[in-house]
Structures are given as structure tokens and as C-alpha cells.
Symmetry: C3
Subunit: 470 residues, 3 copies
């Protein structure tokens, strides 16, 4: 009988394990899930991290496509450095600031660096959703996004070194502290504020930073003339801009889908569908609104409409029905067109439309949770508005302070001469397309002759001269 008894014990244990497995997929609150579920959850979170990573390439191509050829190397440089900077600073301080554990709800710090204990790679870390390493990776990919949003708005005139210092502080401190208020379970989380994947925590925080930068920098030369005219300054490559938006859309599958924080079939698949419907609806509505206004179908508006829909759905992507998702997309698509026109009328010069997309639609999306979400109602709407305001005040003032300090010391804007000739030559001594661009230094060679040779001596000159001397 002992043996039977012991077998019964085993069988019970087996049953409990199976029940844990079965429960795991839909309510992962159990202390642990099966190794298989842990593995598939963690796999999805790693893939989502990769998808968010590729958004940085999306931003790089979108922003460079929507600006002029003479500033392309500069923009690519910024957008290449930002994820590098973001990942490293997030490893040192950001992760600890954003997820401080038990804290006062406003500011906390769980420590420098990435040194998990042994449990960090087991189901004990997060109930089998992901490991410590995956947690860091996914969050780190998010972190740099804020600074990237700023990058587009201040493009074509910001001083590179100042922008990199701004990015360092914004990514290292402003974003993670703000993030801790909600995702770190701080005071806004306790208040019931909801932002599923970051309409506010990521996009409008970045948008406020962009607004601060744009206001302190002023518009680009030639954008608003003395006689009151507004000149459009078209981007230099529509293919690059289009590549950027498609990559962002793809990346948003990880941005929103990964924010489920596990691979739950019901939750993730709903999130991907709401995300896709909002993007598509935003693209269509921005197209038709801008077509009606301008009498021409505007590709850049179609692209911004898609992004508007994506930003708009982000705060509630886990809980919208088909109609709500499409409606959010449609409204965001309309908003983005009028917001672009509004900022232009206010002579606030944002080369890529980052304010309209990330700030305005980020706010709209956050409020939309109070209008269309699970707990829609006046109470939720007010809470959402409080969250929007809290993030706005903190992010905008922080960004103003950083840009202000930089402006007062090292300056934040390139010289008019440099702006005229392009930041690629001024800041980098390297054109983005030397075979197709005429050098502005002493009337370089025209197209068709090996332009590279002439431009090259400036471009790589210092480095290579050094080489020769070494």
C-alpha cells in the first residue's frame, strides 16, 4: 500500500503540474508555469525585442527620407548612436530607475547594472514570462525610442554634440523616471492610469522633448520667410521614408504585441489585430483628408497617417474591439493632418511631423482608453488626462532644462553657414551621396565625373592624413 500511496502522491503531483500547465496559457498569475510555456513566452519576448530594435532603423530611414540630402549623414549618425547610447545607459542606470521595486511612487532606484541572481533566468523571475535578460533587452529597446523621436523634430539644424548630450540625459533619466510612475508601479499606476504600450510613456514623452527642442531651436532657415510665406521643404527620398514607415509598422507588432509580456494567444493576437486595423485606418483617413484639402494625394501624409494610427492605438491596443480600433485609427489620421497644419501655422518647424504624430496622437491615444477602453467613462477619462498632464509637465520641463542648459553653455544650433551647406559637411565632413552631390566647397565637380575623389579628401581627410603620418 505504501507504494500505491506514493504513486498516488506522484500522480497528484503530476496532476497539479498539468493543471498548472493548462492554467498557464490564460492566466499566468501562478508562481510558475511549465518549462515549455516559459520557453515560448520568453521566445516571443525576445522576438518582440528584435522587432522594437528594427524600429530604430525605421526611424533612421523615415527621418532621413523626410529631410534634405545635405543633412542625411547627420541624421543617420544620430539615429545610429541613439540605440547604442540607449542600450548602454539603460544597462547602467535606466533599468534600475524605471523598475525600482518597492518605492515611493515618484523616484526610486534598484541599483546599477545587470547582475541577476540565479533565479533571474528561471520561472521565479517573472512567473515564467521571461528571464531577467529578456526583460532588460525588451525594455532597453523601448528606452532609446524617446530620444529618436526628438531627433526627427530637431533635424537639419541641431548641433550634434549638444543633441547627443541631451539624448544621454533624456534616455538615462527622464524616460526611466517617467516610466516608473506607471510601468514601475508608481503613483500613476496606483491611481488607475492606463497606458498599455506607451502612447504617453514613450510617444508623448518623446513628443514633449521634441517640442522643447523645436521651440528652443527655432525653425530652419528659409522655412518661414519675412513676408509671411511658409515654404515646404520636401524630404529628399520618398523610398527611404516609406521603408521607414513599413519597418515601424512591423516593429510595432513587437512594441504592442510584446507589451502583453507573454505569448498568450488570445491577448497577443488581439493586440496585433487592433494595431494593424488602426494603422490601416489611419493611413486611409489621413490620405483622404489631406487629398480633400490639398487636392492631391500626399504620400507623406499617408505615411504619417499610418504612424498616427499606430501611436493612437498603443495605449489601449490590448482591449479595443474592431470598431474602436478602426475609429481610433481614423480619428488619429484626421488629427495628424490638422496637427501638421497647426504647427506649421504656429511657425513651429518640425521637419518630419514628429509633434503631430507622437505628441498629439500620443495624447489622443491615451485619452481614447477613457473613451473606448474596458473601463471607459468619465472617471477613467479624467485619470487618463491627469496622467497625460503629469507626463507632459515633467517631460517638457525636463527637456527645456536640458536644452536650456546646453543652449546657455555650448549652444544647440549650428551656424547659419553650416546649416546652409548642410550638416553633413559641417558636422561630419562626409556627404551621404558624394557621387550625386556637388560639393559646396569651391565648386566641386559636377555629376558624372568621379565626384567621390574630390569630396573624399574633406570627408575622410583628417583620419587618413593621420594615417599617413602614423
Amino acid at each position: 500500500m505504501k507504494r500505491v500511496g506514493s504513486v498516488s502522491g506522484f500522480a497528484l503531483l503530476a496532476l497539479l503540474a498539468i493543471m498548472a500547465f493548462a492554467g498557464g496559457a490564460f492566466g499566468q498569475e501562478e508562481a510558475t508555469v511549465s518549462p515549455e510555456m516559459f520557453t515560448v513566452n520568453n521566445l516571443w519576448m525576445m522576438i518582440a525585442s528584435g522587432l522594437v530594435f528594427i524600429m530604430h532603423l525605421g526611424f533612421a530611414t523615415l527621418e532621413s527620407g523626410l529631410t534634405r540630402a545635405k543633412n542625411t549623414t547627420n541624421i543617420l549618425f544620430k539615429n545610429t548612436l541613439i540605440p547604442c547610447l540607449g542600450v548602454i545607459t539603460y544597462a547602467f542606470v535606466g533599468f534600475g530607475l524605471m523598475y525600482p521595486g518597492e518605492f515611493n511612487g515618484y523616484l526610486g532606484f534598484s541599483g546599477f547594472g545587470l547582475f541577476p541572481d540565479e533565479a533571474g533566468v528561471t520561472t521565479a523571475y517573472a512567473g515564467g514570462k521571461y528571464t531577467f535578460w529578456t526583460d532588460f533587452l525588451f525594455q532597453a529597446m523601448f528606452a532609446a525610442t524617446c530620444a529618436t523621436i526628438v531627433s526627427g523634430a530637431v533635424a537639419e539644424r541641431v548641433k550634434l554634440s549638444s543633441f547627443l548630450i541631451f539624448s544621454f540625459f533624456f534616455v538615462s533619466f527622464v524616460y526611466p523616471i517617467a516610466g516608473s510612475w506607471k510601468w514601475g508601479l508608481g503613483f500613476l499606476d496606483k491611481m488607475g492610469f492606463y497606458d498599455f504600450a506607451g502612447s504617453t510613456l514613450v510617444h508623448s514623452v518623446g513628443g514633449w522633448g521634441a517640442l522643447a527642442g523645436v521651440l528652443m531651436l527655432g525653425p530652419r532657415m528659409g522655412k518661414y520667410t519675412k513676408d509671411g510665406r511658409t515654404n515646404a521643404i520636401p524630404g529628399h527620398s520618398m523610398p527611404l521614408a516609406t521603408i521607414g514607415v513599413f519597418l515601424l509598422w512591423l516593429g510595432w507588432f513587437g512594441f504592442n504585441g510584446g507589451s502583453v509580456l507573454n505569448a498568450d494567444p488570445a491577448a497577443v493576437s488581439l493586440t496585433l489585430v487592433t494595431t494593424t486595423l488602426a494603422a490601416a485606418a489611419g493611413g486611409l483617413s489621413a490620405t483622404f483628408v489631406s487629398w480633400a484639402i490639398a487636392k492631391k494625394p500626399d504620400l507623406s501624409m499617408a505615411l504619417n497617417g499610418i504612424l498616427a494610427g499606430l501611436v493612437g492605438i498603443t495605449a489601449g491596443a490590448d482591449q479595443m474591439a474592431m470598431w474602436s480600433s478602426m475609429l481610433i485609427g481614423v480619428i488619429a489620421g484626421v488629427i495628424v493632418v490638422y496637427a501638421v497644419m497647426f504647427f506649421d501655422r504656429m511657425k513651429i518647424d518640425d521637419p518630419v511631423g514628429a509633434l503631430a504624430v507622437h505628441l498629439v496622437c500620443g495624447i489622443f491615444g491615451t485619452l481614447a482608453v477613457g473613451l473606448f477602453g474596458n473601463k471607459a467613462g468619465v472617471g477613467q477619462l479624467v485619470t487618463q488626462a491627469i496622467g497625460v498632464a503629469a507626463y507632459g509637465v515633467f517631460s517638457f520641463i525636463s527637456a527645456l532644462a536640458i536644452f536650456g542648459a546646453l543652449k546657455a553653455t555650448m549652444g544647440i544650433r549650428v551656424s547659419p553657414e553650416e546649416e546652409q551647406e548642410g550638416l553633413d559637411l559641417g558636422e561630419h565632413g562626409m556627404q551621404a551621396y558624394p557621387d550625386f552631390q556637388q560639393s559646396s566647397f569651391g565648386g566641386g565637380p559636377g555629376l558624372g565625373v568621379p565626384a567621390g575623389y574630390a569630396a573624399s579628401q574633406m570627408a575622410h581627410g583628417a583620419l587618413h592624413t593621420k594615417t599617413e603620418m602614423a
Copy 2:
């Protein structure tokens, strides 16, 4: 004994559960699988959806790369709008038309919109392969592909508004009704017709639409001269075209691999290998055949050869051996070169080779199932041919009818002046590369001066003038 008995019951239950798990991977016909298997199956289907999505960027870059710079904004606009339009219309009507449930085998409709019951997100929906939402997402990403195929063939002369209306009808009705005949378990499915991932259902349906469009539009100005010469009109950016083909190859991993409809290791991995071998073999064979004919290695033929191999393997990617996969790729690579030459000789002007790739190789791939597939033989070959013919008749006539009605009313072709100056200025007032393109309006600025400024007043003029007045 009661307790033992009850333990026995538990143990039996546990065993059954385990057996269900074990069976799940290889024969998922059971009513249900474990939550883990459901999660991993659904994860793969979501990832496959993302991969098919990125094919739209692949088409956008391929088609714009293979046409002229002056029509680039127009092509990008079409290829951006099509997935937006495709997803939204598929949500409203396409999904219900394509998967009508029990129906007469020719035309059915299961209802508007996306409103799953609670079982839609459980293993009850599809035996644990995917949720309702994932099902929609994967199928919706397929839907827009047809219209995108047409887009390339009619490029550089089709009127934008007419094309968008055509796409609306083609994606909303023609593709899903045709799809229901096989994948919706309609009459061709009952007949034994086989098309694993859409050599016919997607590619040749799109190809027939393209042929209808090309025939009704006629060739581009200057393509075929009065004295009988054929002018090649090279694409404006080989990097864009190459990016397109690599993204399509990658996306095909989802297109074919996702068509397994679960993550079964044996089936999906075989499918990815046959797909890859056919693509590689197609690239090599098209390269060497065109090299032999033209005495020069032709990049665009290498690229089209890869696509030919991919289209060719698609109908039977789940069941080919190594040799068959390579052979299908090799044959498709040869076919695509001769098909390009054939259409050119017939003065059927297809700027990107869509007819050769999607129509001709789509038909070949479908027949190849009767030649090399599991049930190869005369009977299967005849059935495949019947399917090919049925899809051809329906798609071609439908597309002719839509294009014909548009031609008779609003017209389908831009004016010769617009075609000459480019659709980017004519349709959109926006050049794709304003810094590098001379405006054709009144002799704009040459290269090296800030071309953007001058071009911009046309490009964004209407929208911004409105802004100023607002």
C-alpha cells in the same frame, strides 16, 4: 479504495493529457492540444503574418526600383495604400467571403466584420492552431498581395484614382471569392485541386488582374517605337529592387511556412527548405540563361529568377523533395527569362516583369504539383489544370470588367503630358528625390543648389497654402 480510485482517475486523466500533448505535434486533428502547443502554434502564425506583411515593403521597393525616378512617389503611394485598403476591406467583407463555412462551393458569405464569440480565442476555434484574430491577420496579409502584383504591371501610366478603385473591388471581392473555391473548401477543393500556399490562388490571380490591366492600358510611351524597335526602360534604383527581392524571399518564409497553419516542426521546416532551395535554384538558372542569351549577367533577371523560384514552389512547398524543389526552381528560372522576352515581343509592356513572375510561374508551380507532388500523375495534373483555368477565367474576366468599367467612365490612363513629366508631379505634386531631380516645370534648379526649396512650392503648395489661410 475510494481515494486510490480517485487517484487512478487523476492519473488516467494525466496520462490522457500527456498523450494529447504528444499527439499534438504531429497530427493536430484532435479537438484540442495543450496550452503550450496552442501558444507556440499561434506564435508561429503571428510571426508568419508579420513576415507576409513585410512582403508589402518588398513589393514597394522592388516595383519602385524597377521603374523610373519620376514615377516613384506614385508607386510607393499605391503600395502603401494597398495594404491599408486590403486589411480594412478584408475585415469588412473579404474574410467572410473567403471562409463562408458551409456553402454551395461557389459563393458564400459568413458575415461582416470581426466579432468572434468567446471560443474564438481558445483551442476550440481551430484545434489549437491559432486564434480567430491570428487567422484573420494571416489571411488579411495575403489578401492585399493580389492588388500589389497588379500595381507593378500597370506602373508608370495608370491613373491613381482608378487604380485604387480597381484595387478595392479586386481585393474585396475577386480575391476572396476565388479563394473560397479552394481554401474556403469550395468546389475546387472538393475536386482535389491542390495549391498549398497560393501559386494560383494568390500569384496567378494577381497575374491575371495584371494582364487585364496591361492590355487595357497599352504600353508606356516610348517603349515600342513605330519603326518596330523595343526600348528597354531600366529601373531607377537597383538597390531598391534588390532590397525588395530579399524582403520578399524572407517574407516567403511566412507565406509558405505559415501556410502549414501550425508550427509542426517537420512540416514547417521542410517547407522552408523547399522554398529556399527553389529560390536559390531559380536565381541561379535565370542568371545563367539570361547571361547566355545576352552575354551579360543581368541583375534584374537574377532577382526575377529568385521570385520565379519562389512563386513556382509555392503550390507544393509542403511536399517536395530536395531534387524536385531545385528542379522547380531551375525550370521557373528559365521560364521567367523566356516569359519576359515573350511578353516584350508581344508588345505587352510590364515594367517589372510581374506577368512573367506571378502569372506564368504561378501557373507552372500549380501544374508542378501534378508533376512532382505527393499525388503526381495525369489525374492530378488534369485537376491542377482545371483549377488554373477556372481561376484564370474568373480573375481575368473580373479584372477586365472592373478596368473596363473604369475606362469607360473616369478613364484609367494619365495624359501623355503627365506620363512624360512623371506621375509624381502629375498625380501627387511631389517628387521622390527633389534634391536630385530637376523640376520639369519651367526649368527648375540644377543639381547642387537647394533644389528642395524650388520644388517644394509645387510639392506641398496646396496643403501649405491652405495652412496659411486657415
Copy 3:
């Protein structure tokens, strides 16, 4: 009692199965794992294969971006053909050479082609990590990388046909034989040499091939002038180069993450984090070092720094701590800048910096395992050095032999005229950007007129003339 006994047996069986599941995630040495674990493991390996595949697009865009517009079609052609060639030859001979099973440790062959027995798609093949087909796919995607590395270094002057023949031999024989010494469990594996994902087996093997090619070809015309000056020859498109590096970084998630060979949460997530930290640190350190030297922030150095970090971490990505990962990235970023300058000073002309990135940092990364890895110490360091040397001798001599034989027979370098006018016209008769490039044949049309028409008759001439005659 019989029934209870049999139930006890079932229960025990159930328990054992569960224990196997539980063990599966962390130590997959068991003969078998659950179907779910098999499915998720195999899924990750398939996705990793897709990620490594996209590295080929990364190389194509990086290499074409860092070279001149007049050679772009040629580079794209090579980088399109290489994966095709790589996959097909790996199917025929490479896979069998690299994984020969029991062998003498130096050279073995397990047979031609891909014909798994039935067990090849079950957990019996690799203990539930992946199927035979996935194994082939993942390894095949690696194989072509070597030749692609060579491609960049020999760009802008190598004869196409000779390069393709070189690639054939290098991918078919040199890489897999070298690979068998470690990953095929050959003599270096038995000696304790460690190279997790290929700092040496892939990157330095490719780098040695590149060095052999560069030495036999000599520098590009105009790179080093008679009066001792070094001319920088800047690449023609910084956006393409940047796209390339981001895609490579993304692809490296599969390259390193997939090298875990299953989806184990702890191992894969650590690997992705070490990979990302090293990439980011490399990007930052190369930026600051080159900024300090040249007084300008150099985008191409930032990009190469990221790649340097990635190559550097690859040999030990599964076992580095946060500090070690960053340190490896920082050191690699410094090394790559000085290595670029070193090769330039030695008049070894490598247009894209492939030697600095893949050869030098590949060696560094391999030695770093002996400095920072699990078994760091003099013994391990010596073993690593022996491996580095063995691979160096074999790869370099093999590549010299192949290039030497080609040089002695059909030649490996294009004519000076062809090099001057560009390999796109000389080898392919097809410009990469006909709308923006002036034809060098008889003073073609300038920018702004429909350049495509004039250029086209050369570009597609032969093929289309043939068409007309057919």
C-alpha cells in the same frame, strides 16, 4: 490490484514524462523532450535561420553603400548570387563535409544531398532541438557568409566570373572543411578550442579569404597615388550602409542566438544581451576614438564599430557577463579604427573595412574567450590562439590557391578602362541609377532629361535585341 498496479505504472510514466519536460528546458541532453519543447526549439531555430538570411541583405546594402555608384549593380549582383550559390552547394556537399559524423578530425564526408531518414523530422534527430531540415537551413545560411565577407573587400575591381568561381570553391569546400574541425567535432573541438558562433569559423575565415583576394588584386586605381598620398574613396550612399548595419545587428540575434541550438530561455536571452551590449559599446567606442583622431564624428566608423563589437562577442556570446560584453565591444571598437588605419597605411585597399571588422575583430573575439570566458586562463588562451592560427593558415592558403589559379588562367581583375567607367557598365551593361548617372559612353544625357532611355539601350540591349529577333 492489477488495475491499480497498471494505473501506478501509468502514473509513473506520466511523472517521468513530466520530469523530462521539466528537465528539457535547461538541460536538453535527454534523448527526447516533449513535443511542445521540440516545437518551440525548432521554431526558434527556423526564425534564427531567417534572421541570418537577412544578414545577406545587410551585407549587400552595406557593401554597396560603402562603394561607388558606378559599381553598385555589380556588388548587388554578387551579394544576390552568393546566398543562392551558398544554399545550393551547401545542400550538395557543404553540409556533408561540415558535419561528417565520426571522422578523423580533419576531413570527412557524410554524403551528398539532403535525404533524411524518417527520424530526421522527429526528436530522435537532435534530442528535440530541431529537425534535419532546420539544421540544414540554419547551417546553410551561415555558409554563404564567408564569401560575402570576401565580396566587400575585393569590390570595385574584381572580375565577376572569377569571383563567382572563387566563391563556389570557398563556400563548397574551404568553409565546411574548416567548420568541421570545430563544429563538426573535429580535432580543434577535441583540443578544447571554443568558438560559440563563429568569430573565427565564419568571420576570420571570411577575413582571411578577403586578405588573400585583396593582396592578389592590389588596390583600386587612384587609391594610393605615386606621390605617396592616400585618397579616401567615400561610399556612394550612407543610407544604404546604415540600413546594412542595422540589418546585420538584427540578423546577429539569429546568428548568435540561434547558435544556442535550442530556445532555452536562459541561454538565448543572455546571448542576445551580450550581443547587443557589445554592438552598442563597439559603436560608441569606435565613434569616440575616430572622433578624437579625425576631429569629426565619422558615420562609417560608428557603423564599423557596431560590426566590430558584434564580431568580437560572437565567439563567447553565450558566456560573457555584462562587463565583459561591454569591454569586448569597447576594445573591438577601438581595434577596428586602428585596423582600418593600419591596412590603409600598408596600402592594403579594402573598400568596406572587411579586414578590420571580420578578420582582426574575429581574431580578437576568439582570443577574448580565453581572456573573459568561463574557462579564461593561459591554457584556454593558448588553445584559442592555436585555433586562430590553424584557421588562418588553412583559409589564407586555400584562398590564395584559388585566387592564384584564377589569376594565372582567366584573370581576376577587370581592365583599367572598365574599372574607370565602373563595373556596372563593364560587367553588366546596367547602371544602378540610370536616371541619375551620366553614361560614360559618348557623353550621355545630363540629369533631368530622361536618362533612362539612352542608357537603356546598352543596359538591356542585348537581351531585348535578342527578343526582337526571336
